[in-house]
Amino acid sequence: MPADLEFENLVNVYYRDLYRFGLSLTGSEADAADLTQQTFYIWANKGNQLQKPASVKTWLFTTLHREFLKTCRRQNRFSHESIDERTEDLPTVPANCADRADSQTLLRILGEMAEDFRAPLVLYYMEDLSYKEIADVLALPLGTVQSRIARAKIQLLRRLSETNLPVEQAK
């Protein structure tokens, strides 16, 4: 397949997912679009170095996340809520707990989380990536990723319940 067509196909397959990931990380549409573009431009220059074609998706998400971290280091403008360390109290999750939350509400809640927790949680929800792949994208140990997802998920469910429904704490 010609390189131009291959690139176009790749963009069409992944740009939505990358944009959503970027938007969840940055909370800004413009920054998300920039990150998405930057990711594909890096692919255009370095993608041929990828040994396993099957890991293209992971490579793209890893690259976007790295670019985001670079931006964070440059701007250092985000203030985030740290995640409560207690994981013992699992909330009882009503089946309709997220029914009334629109994407803007979800993005707002995600944006209030520390980046360390937000990125794994977004990948957990948005992409059909295995935990191993999420760990690869974020360059973190598998156990750390799972721990952060669990803690961030509890936080998200609590916030959603506060927004929509009363939360019952599991005993």
Binding site: R20, Q37, C97, L156
Partner: protein, 208 residues
């Protein structure tokens, strides 16, 4: 395993995508025997699906994909075999060009080598001709004296081209051409060119 442990594990369970992940197998089996846990699991997977669907409703700005494709940078892949091929082509081209230039130079030099010709024109005293543009019958005496005294002689052909007249190696032609100064003659000789200056090595002089 108890319900609490199973819940801790199944908090990360997303449904079909995690069915093959062995870390969930035992907890899922336990949930089958615990109706309360099974209900909790159904609720949390439904909640997962809802959140995922909501997040996936987010659409990128219109035209983003076209913009990305349009502004795609042209990659430079460091392919050493291609670079070496290019270097070889450049080297071969440079060699061929150099050889052609040398061949052309030689051809030009060989073209300027001795060539027998006939030139008809006025015999000149080159010193007066070049310095003061003097020639013709009015200058005949001066020209004859100058040539005889050893100053260079020449012939101006009918086409206007001027040749310096020379003898053979080590032989001056002045004595032979001095009597023809300012007269029109035909000289047979070998034409050569040195540094762009035409010379005629005299072999035979015919007075018209």
């Amino acid at each position: 395993m108890n319900t609490r442990d199973a819940k801790q594990i199944l908090l990360l369970y997303r449904g079909t995508i995690d069915d093959l992940d062995p870390q969930f197998h035992a907890a899922l089996a336990y949930a089958k025997s615990d109706p309360g846990l099974a209900e909790w699991l159904r609720a949390q997977t439904k909640c997962y699906d809802t959140i995922q669907a909501t997040l996936r409703e987010i659409e990128p700005p219109l035209g983003l994909s076209e913009k990305i494709v349009r502004r795609r940078p042209i990659p430079f892949h460091c392919d050493w075999s291609r670079i070496l091929q290019l270097a070889a082509v450049i080297l071969i081209s440079a060699t061929v060009t150099a050889l052609l230039m040398k061949w052309s130079e030689r051809r030009h030099v060989s073209g300027a080598g001795p060539q027998e010709i006939l030139v008809t024109g006025e015999v000149l005293d080159m010193t007066c001709y070049i310095a003061s543009n003097l020639s013709g019958p009015d200058h005949a005496k001066c020209a004859r004296d100058c040539i005889r005294s050893g100053l260079p002689a020449g012939i101006k052909a009918q086409d206007g081209k001027v040749y310096l007249l020379t003898g053979g190696p080590g032989h001056s032609i002045n004595a032979e051409v001095a009597d023809y100064a300012a007269k029109t003659v035909t000289i047979k000789g070998k034409q050569t060119v040195r540094d762009g200056f035409a010379q005629l090595q005299v072999e035979e002089i015919r007075k018209l």
